[in-house]
Assembly symmetry: C2
Homo-oligomer: 354 residues x 2
């Protein structure tokens, strides 16, 4: 009646009067499946149906080395409230693509990992999955080095560089998106543009700068001013700096401004404040476009303004990362990179030049 134990291939074999190997041949439907006589095949299938046989995933993985599981490792907690909105689309894309390909998704909790312990915690857990998608800003470089050294297949969401190695990642096409944004501004008549970026000079920032220059070149315009906002300055200092810049721009007939959002969006909030104070209306007196999404909990969102910007194709990036990872599993012949187009968002912060 109700067995305590699930029926195995051995049970089926006994019932059908064949060997376990034959059962395996029939049910796994592998390449050698055709060599089984129709009559035998039928007997096995009948017995399997009769006993309610199902394959044991653990055993199959053990034998084959693959688990048909993809991991998602996040360097920060994905779910906490203030991050939820930002990370969810990535998660969504990863989950959908994973399911589509018939894999299961293993979410690794980095929460409370604190110290890296080899067995229970730490990066090694990842390896129960066939490969891993990595998500999050604040990478533990030691962990990352471990993964690379051990030749574990993984794909980053977002561009990552590790000196001396080639990582696989899916990155937004910041160059193209920025170029398009410039094109859009010049398209409505702007001829003097300024560009405001955080002080730290990572790749995403450099890419946007390249896009900025390319956009200007497209429009046959000369290079235009690029300004930095220190990330760690206090509010007052930021305001003062921006006020000075604003004067400079107005004096210089700048009619449009590109701003790269930083992690806290201080600059964006400050800009809104300073402009209001100086009687400069956006977009009437100055068009402003953001080169990316305002920070999820940052001031840029808090202002309530619907900024003209481009937005990360987060879901697509998640999906693409899974695709890349599966390629990597298929043939581990080197790192994979992929650029995904950003989506332009019409806001109300861009108009025609005065």
């Amino acid at each position: 009646m109700s067995q305590r134990r699930r029926p195995t291939q051995v049970d089926i074999a006994r019932a059908a009067g064949v060997s376990q190997a034959t059962v395996s041949l029939v049910v796994s439907g592998g390449p050698a499946s055709g060599q089984v006589a129709e009559q035998t095949r039928r007997a096995v299938l009948d017995a399997a149906a009769e006993l309610g046989y199902t394959v044991n995933a653990a055993a199959r993985s053990l034998k084959g080395g693959r688990n048909r599981m993809l991991g998602l490792y996040t360097f920060e907690a994905v779910f906490p409230v203030d991050q939820r909105d930002f990370y969810f689309p990535f998660l969504l894309g990863v989950e959908e693509a994973t399911a589509e390909f018939g894999y299961d998704l293993l979410l690794f909790s980095s929460v409370g990992t604190g110290k890296r312990r080899i067995y229970s915690g730490g990066i090694n857990r990842l390896k129960v999955a066939d490969g891993c998608v990595l998500l999050g800003r604040h990478i533990d470089h030691a962990d990352l080095a471990d993964l690379v050294r051990e030749d574990f297949p993984f794909v980053f969401v977002g561009r990552r560089e590790l000196p001396g190695t080639e990582l696989s990642y899916v990155a937004p096409d910041y160059v193209g998106a920025t170029r398009d944004m410039v094109r859009r501004l010049t398209g409505v008549g702007h001829r003097r543009l300024a560009y405001l970026r955080p002080a730290d000079h990572q790749e995403p920032t450099r890419d946007r700068e390249d896009g900025f220059r390319a956009g200007l070149a497209d429009a046959g315009l000369p290079d235009q001013p690029i300004h930095e906002i220190p990330d760690d300055a206090d509010l007052a200092a930021t305001d003062a700096r921006l006020a000075a810049l604003l004067d400079e721009w107005l004096a210089d007939d700048v009619t449009a401004l590109l701003v790269e959002p930083s992690e806290d969006d201080q600059a964006i909030a400050a800009l809104e404040r300073v402009a209001t104070e100086a009687g400069v209306r956006i977009p009437d007196d100055l068009s402003v476009a953001l080169l990316g999404d305002p920070a999820p909990s940052g001031a840029g969102r808090a202002t309530g303004r619907n900024w003209t910007r481009f937005t990360l194709p987060r879901e697509d990036m998640g999906r693409a990362a899974v695709g890349l990872l599966l390629e990597l599993l298929e043939a581990d012949d080197g790192p994979r990179r992929l650029s995904v187009a950003c989506t332009a968002v019409d806001g109300d912060s861009v108009g025609r030049p005065r």
Copy 2:
């Protein structure tokens, strides 16, 4: 340097000059772990760290050990757009609690499983996890029976009954929530209440009825009318039926109505239509409270009205399910049940009696 194959306990054993069994004792940290000499333990740990050892989940499950992984199996896709809002909080709760207890979460993709195929898919994948949280409305009873028969630890989100067995689940406290809602209505002066429920007579429906009666008893009121709305009727029929009921209630001096949301919320939409047509204003002429959340994509939400209702503590339920599951893993001594309190939501569909 970078091995192609993942190091196993045998590799560690060789490196540390001990046996595989010793390695297993050290790294699995089981009950007999203390019997290993400190010096040996250290040697093993060092070798493991050196080689980057990680346990093979498949092998461990096959053997019957624990993985510190909890599964989340959904009978429908959790993420598809139209369900996203509804299921997400459960997922959130499950994920948070899982992480809190230091487990990882394995999301099983039921997507595309369609027919239960004997070989690749099916319910048995679940067993790579230590236990499983089950989520979703449309259960495959055969799958469920399998799980029970095999004595696999799982906890349902939502009350489930399987004839002949005792399942573990976390369920909303419909009795208490309904009782509170009645109390609230009688508290503001209502003395004649009516109760509208779908035709199918599942436990959740029965619970609410019990709560209704209890609430009436609390207020010292006699039993009040209970009406059914057939679930499969067409729109016109539903409208006609409701119109008739509305007349009846008004003639009977009913001032407040309790409605149990059904899967498609036809009744709620119909109620709004019929009331408008008859010139009956909600809540001025008739107070209406929902005994639960309107269906995620149903008409009840579409009306745009902010119904006074109670809402499922979805996140709490997810968390509680994980807690129960961990208890179950600790001591498999029988099914566990838990009731979670619902949250009252102030809407604008309830007022004082006319």
